[in-house]
């Protein structure tokens, strides 16, 4: 019998954990490298959100009356950050569908690496990407008049909440990308479900301005709750009712879609 099988014995648990972390870091780095190499990705993740800020601030903003001290720009920024974090998840779906189609995931899964690192690395890179985008938007927001009005710690809390929210949406997106598999279909359908959720919410306009039947939906769906919590963190006002409800929603979504994504990844062919 060939001795090749004996050269690499089953590693111990400590070693396996170290490899899992190392593999995730390697794949995070890989995703970020690809991101930096493709100008279109950068436009999509940075330029487009900045454009949204400017459009809403100067084009729609004048017509929307929100009745808060800082005016529309203060109202807008948490909403646009939430929307951007959610929309960034399309990148997760597209990248996974692409890697699946190209056989990259097959190669990884046939190697002695930690299998879960593919998803872990992807999500870590997406979180980093999201953070960069959010900071850029905040910078632009400051230039056009936005201010945090509730102190530094809640401000950091707002950024963390938006990244957590974005990552949760990424899990849903990962599932969608791995389930649909076809890159073009993912491009077409990967965002559609997010449009009603982000626009029929408190992200851009006060819910009170919507027709009654829409208000019921808008008031109770997770994007509104998350954005209200972010707004309270940024501007002041009651935080905890919104924060708890959003965290419960996010945990619920993770519990459902996390395992679904992992299962889709394991079965993906």
């Amino acid at each position: 019998m060939s001795t090749a099988g004996l050269i690499a014995p089953e590693p111990r648990i400590g070693q396996r954990i170290r490899w899992a972390i190392g593999d995730s870091i390697t794949l995070t780095r890989r995703s970020l490298l690809v991101w930096l190499r493709v100008p279109a990705f950068i436009v999509f993740t940075v330029v487009q959100p900045v454009m949204f800020v400017l459009l809403f601030r100067y084009v729609f903003g004048g017509a929307i009356h929100v009745g808060i001290p800082g005016g529309y720009v203060d109202y807008l920024m948490p909403g646009i950050i939430g929307q951007t974090a959610a929309f960034a998840s399309i990148g997760t779906a597209i990248a996974l569908a692409q890697e699946l189609q190209r056989g990259v995931i097959d190669r990884f899964r046939s190697m002695p690496m930690t299998r879960s690192a593919v998803l872990a690395g992807r999500l870590t890179a997406d979180a980093a990407r999201m953070l960069v985008t959010i900071l850029v938007i905040l910078g632009v927001g400051y230039l056009v008049g936005f201010r945090f009005r509730n102190g530094a710690v809640p401000a950091v809390g707002m950024v963390l909440l938006s990244v957590t929210f974005g990552l949760t949406v990424c899990c849903v997106s990962a599932f969608i990308g791995l389930a649909i598999k076809d890159e073009e279909s993912v491009q077409a359908f990967g965002l559609i479900w997010l449009f009603p959720l982000t626009f029929v919410s408190s992200a851009f306009v006060p819910i009170a301005s919507m027709p009654g039947w829409l208000q019921t939906f808008a008031n109770n769906q997770p994007v509104t709750l998350v954005i209200n919590a972010m707004r309270a963190l940024a501007l002041g006002g009651p935080i905890s009712p919104y924060l708890w409800k959003s965290l419960v929603w996010l945990a619920g979504i993770l519990v459902v879609f996390g395992p679904l994504a992992v299962r889709a990844y394991k079965r993906a062919s």
């Binding site: 060939s2 090749a4 099988g5 190209r102 990259v104 097959d106 190669r107 899964r109 002695p112 062919s269």
Partner: protein, 356 residues
């Protein structure tokens, strides 16, 4: 002797034989109503090359995916270097390399980056990964393009890069799924050289292909599958012997004379002549008749007043083997000439029953 494999399972080996690098027994796999594999068996001794040959949809990729732990079989078993693919997939992965049907490289990253990342995922240190990448880039003749994004590479270079990536872990058993599909003839020859060099280093190789000349060129043993079943196995020479000796081949440019031509040579042929109606090409099996049979054929056709072109005597190619075994050519499948092919396949199936 008995080998202990992972999870306390044993594989019995007859005394005096060394364990095969790949052992496949009764492998079955269905995708819903599609029976992709219907009981496939073969073994690959260490250090040899197996060519897995079959038309589109035969089940080649499905075999490779099961052996590389990407897919679980519905039935049967597969053992790589003593490790069962279902019960000890982690151990299998430490012994194999895979270059799949799609080139699994990241086009935005450079060739060097692609290899270094795979090295890191094999748990090599950074300096080791770098060195391994340099060595492989050199060996596969991509050193000059090492720092260009892989999407700027030619098809042949991308294939070589993909192959290089599959070798980073020094695999004992390598799987190449259609390594030369889509390459121009020169790149194909280059790829063959690379593969031959690899094999001379003692790597066990399973190679799938639709090209019969490729299997002929590279493989020690050939397994032909069609519709999820092994329809023939053996060396290229053994398979060719199955066709039954030499072939005389000629083309009748005037299609209306085809029937006359067939009538003229029918006495020469062992078994039915094979006719390609579209091309007007006739192939007859002449056993050990040799050049006498050729002269005889010329004389008879001349006597019947049928003009022919491209008259030749040749040894059977694997194409002929495929035709004899399946009733259709290796590359027919995708053209999908339904009725005629189905009828012929039935005959192929009968012949299969005789030969096995």
């Amino acid at each position: 002797m008995t080998h202990l494999v992972d999870e306390g399972r044993f594989v019995d080996m007859p005394e005096g034989t060394s364990a095969p690098a790949i052992l496949v027994e009764g492998l079955r796999k269905s995708f819903g109503p599609v029976h992709a594999l219907r009981g496939v068996d073969f073994t690959v001794p260490s250090g040899t090359v197996l060519g897995l040959l079959g038309p589109n949809g035969a089940g080649k990729t499905t075999v490779v995916r099961i052996l590389t732990t990407l897919l679980e079989p519905d039935g049967g078993r597969a053992v790589i270097e003593g490790h069962d693919v279902v019960h000890a997939p982690a151990a299998v992965r430490r012994n194999i390399g895979l270059a799949g049907q799609a080139t699994a490289i990241q086009p935005e990253l450079t060739g060097r980056e692609n290899l270094e990342i795979v090295g890191r995922l094999h748990h090599l240190s950074w300096p080791q990964s770098r060195q391994r990448a340099v060595d492989l880039l050199e060996r596969f003749d991509i050193a000059d393009a090492a720092d260009r994004p892989a999407k700027t590479y030619s098809g042949g270079m991308q294939r070589r890069l993909d192959l290089a990536a599959s070798l980073i872990g020094h695999p004992a058993v390598l799987f190449l799924d259609e390594p030369t599909t889509g390459l121009d003839p020169r790149s194909r020859l280059g790829m063959w050289d690379v593969i031959r060099e690899l094999v001379s280093g003692g790597t066990t190789l399973l190679l799938t292909t639709q090209y019969l000349d490729e299997a002929d060129e590279l493989a020690d043993q050939i397994v032909v599958i069609d519709h999820g079943l092994v329809i023939a196995a053996g060396s290229a020479e053994q398979l060719k012997d199955r066709v039954g000796g030499d072939l005389v081949e000629f083309t009748v440019p005037d299609r209306t004379r085809l029937a006359d031509a067939l009538a003229a040579v029918s006495g020469l042929s062992e078994g039915d002549p094979h006719v390609d109606q579209d091309a007007g090409r006739v192939t007859i099996s002449v056993g050990v008749g040799g050049s006498e049979a050729l002269v005889d054929a010329v004389r008879r056709l001349d006597g019947a007043g049928v003009a022919t072109v491209g008259m030749s005597l040749r040894r059977p190619s694997l194409d002929d083997v495929f035709l004899a075994l399946t009733g259709h050519g290796a590359e027919d499948e995708s053209r999908g000439r339904g009725g005629r092919r189905r009828g012929r396949r039935r005959r192929g199936a009968e012949r299969r029953a005789d030969t096995t």
